[in-house]
């Protein structure tokens, strides 16, 4: 009787602890005072050994370990690619200015951002993540009875268990403050999805300014976990919103963009989304899902930087000032196209299949349009320069003494390079990659294959070869 009472008392105590938020997620810290010069921002990362003349952006897609390994192989290729730029021989890898990543690709991006070339040490990233069965470790942690108690709390979910494992086992408890202190490029943009408004949520101080939160105090593992927070498999990640407490002042572009509903709806939408974070009474908490839900190739944010003057590190302003001569964007997309039995049966698909398809298939289709938008932008920039030159040539022919009334806009050479399995010519080989599963556990030989195929696709890319020829 006494034992039963004691057991009941212990259970009651545990449930009380769980219920009163004793077990809670890692809380993102409040920002004391807004300062647009401080924090993890592109402008605060120096590149003393290089200029912006050759500006390189990489984007890493989602796709679990498959995506992490494909992007890893691409980084290995860039490390081994020697170029001549501004009179010096360099590695193309050292010219990378920005990496924007989603989900599985975020593991590689974050590790490279934090530890640089250590990424390539066989005993480091390969051992702690790439060739590791992370999936079973995540599963085993959920079977631990201690974690059952913690998971009973509404403030602590499966995603928070994942954060602890990634933090301890992969990212050595490093924070964005460590990235800021390092102060070196590439600028790592880890993207998640704001569940309520369905838009991209990027772990950079500009995003956290809106919420009066200090990104420097956030563990990088938390960003990576949010970025790879596949719906249902994990719980949404909660972030605290302290908006209105740090003296945040809207940037000038925001007031201007709010007038662009008719003239430029995407710009209007950007400011509309940004302002939803400023109302902390309406949204005291933000819930994040896998970055792939909003953009599975991580290209949307760089695309805004290429086409708009609104971001502090925007490229049009750099191009106007003659800082950028060559602009390179390499999209690494681990999209698959697995054979499915769904349409071979009249039966309704299972719930997991439905969730998986809803979360990934529409976005994969949308990714094609995102890549096309990049190519269209680059083609527009090329044609703008051509049009001006053609017009000037006609003018000189018809009226040799006449001059163009306005100066030629500064030109930039653009290279849009896509690395995806669709480009594999051999059908059997293509099928092999197109049917690889999305998981945090692949066979070692599959990881080896992924590391090799990225460089192979780059070698066969006309645009990549054209870039190398020009350097």
């Amino acid at each position: 009787m006494k034992n039963r009472f004691q057991t009941t008392a212990v259970l009651f105590f545990i449930l009380a602890l769980a219920g009163c938020s004793y077990f809670t997620y890692q809380v993102n810290p409040q920002l004391k005072q807004y300062d647009p010069q401080v924090g993890y921002r592109f402008e605060n990362l120096k590149a003393p050994e290089k200029t912006d003349g050759l500006f390189v952006i990489l984007t890493f897609s989602g796709g679990g370990t498959r995506a992490a390994a494909l992007s890893y192989g691409v980084l290995e290729k860039l490390r081994d690619t020697k170029i001549h730029w501004e009179g010096q021989e360099r590695r193309l890898l050292d010219e990378v200015d920005v990496i924007s990543s989603v989900s599985g690709g975020s593991f590689t991006a974050a590790y490279y951002g934090l530890f640089g070339d250590e990424l390539f040490d066989p005993e480091k990233f390969r051992k702690v993540f790439l060739y590791r069965n992370m999936e079973s470790e995540l599963f085993l942690s959920m079977l631990n009875p201690v974690n059952w108690v913690r998971l009973a709390s509404p403030y602590f979910g499966r995603i928070d268990l994942a954060v602890e494992i990634y933090d301890r086992e992969i990212f050595r408890e490093k924070t964005f403050g460590d990235l800021t202190t390092q102060g070196k490029r590439p600028f790592i943009m880890i993207n998640a999805t704001d569940m309520t408004i369905g838009s991209q949520f990027t772990f950079i101080q500009e995003q956290f300014d809106l919420m009066c939160s200090d990104l420097n105090g956030v563990h990088v593992a938390r960003a990576v976990a949010a970025s790879s927070n596949f719906p249902i498999a994990f719980t949404p990640m909660t972030m605290n919103n302290y908006a209105g407490t740090c003296g945040y002042q809207e940037r000038t572009w925001m007031a201007e963009a709010s007038k662009d509903l008719i003239d430029n709806p995407p710009r209007f939408n950007r400011v509309r989304i940004a302002r939803t974070y400023k109302n902390s009474s309406e949204r005291p908490y933000i819930h994040l899902l896998d970055g792939g839900v909003a953009d599975n190739i991580g290209l949307r944010a760089p695309l805004v930087a290429v086409t708009s003057n609104d971001l502090p590190w925007n490229l049009p302003n750099k191009i106007n000032q003659g800082k950028i001569k060559k602009l390179v964007v390499i999209v690494v997309d681990a999209r698959t196209d697995p054979e499915t039995r769904t349409d071979k049966s009249a039966c309704s698909p299972w719930l997991p299949t439905i969730v998986d398809d809803i979360a990934t298939v529409p976005m994969s289709n949308y990714s094609f349009e995102t890549v096309q938008a990049l190519h269209d932008t680059f083609e527009y920039l090329r044609s703008a320069a051509r049009n001006y030159d053609d017009c000037e040539n006609i003018l000189k022919k018809e009226s040799p003494s006449a001059n163009m009334p306005y100066k030629r806009p500064l030109h930039v050479d653009t290279y849009g390079i896509y690395v995806g399995f669709d480009q594999i010519k051999d059908q059997d080989k293509k099928n092999h990659f197109m049917n690889m599963k999305t998981s945090f556990c692949l066979k070692p030989e599959e990881v080896d294959d992924l590391r090799k195929i990225g460089p192979e696709i780059l070698d066969n890319s006309e645009e990549f070869q054209s870039l190398l020829k020009d350097l």
């Binding site: 940037r251 000038t252 572009w253 201007e256 963009a257 007038k259 662009d260 003239d263 430029n264 710009r267 086409t307 708009s308 003057n309 609104d310 502090p312 925007n314 049009p316 302003n317 191009i319 106007n320 000032q321 938008a373 269209d376 932008t377 527009y380 920039l381 703008a384 320069a385 049009n387 001006y388 017009c391 163009m404 306005y406 100066k407 030629r408 806009p409 500064l410």
Partner: protein, 77 residues
């Protein structure tokens, strides 16, 4: 995504800020995103008006929007 083009005319070479960020120089053809923008010439504030707002659209690299509003203050330049 089509871009827009502007030229901010001024008697001397100055920085041009678009929406508070330095975007290029006066009298150069500058590329920018379509829509509403605020233009100014930064510091020193020895020119008038302090800033101008324009809705930039339907321009080309050959026929940019010309912003002729800025001039030195009395006693400037």
């Amino acid at each position: 995504m089509p871009m827009e083009f502007v030229v901010v005319n001024y008697p001397e070479v100055r920085d041009v800020s678009i929406d508070g960020e330095v975007a290029g120089k006066t009298n150069d053809t500058l590329m920018l995103e379509r829509g509403h923008h605020t233009f100014d010439l930064g510091i020193p504030k020895d020119y008038e008006p302090e800033s101008v707002e324009k809705n930039v659209q339907d321009t080309t690299e050959i026929i940019p929007l010309i912003i002729d509003d800025f001039h030195p203050k009395e006693g400037g330049i």
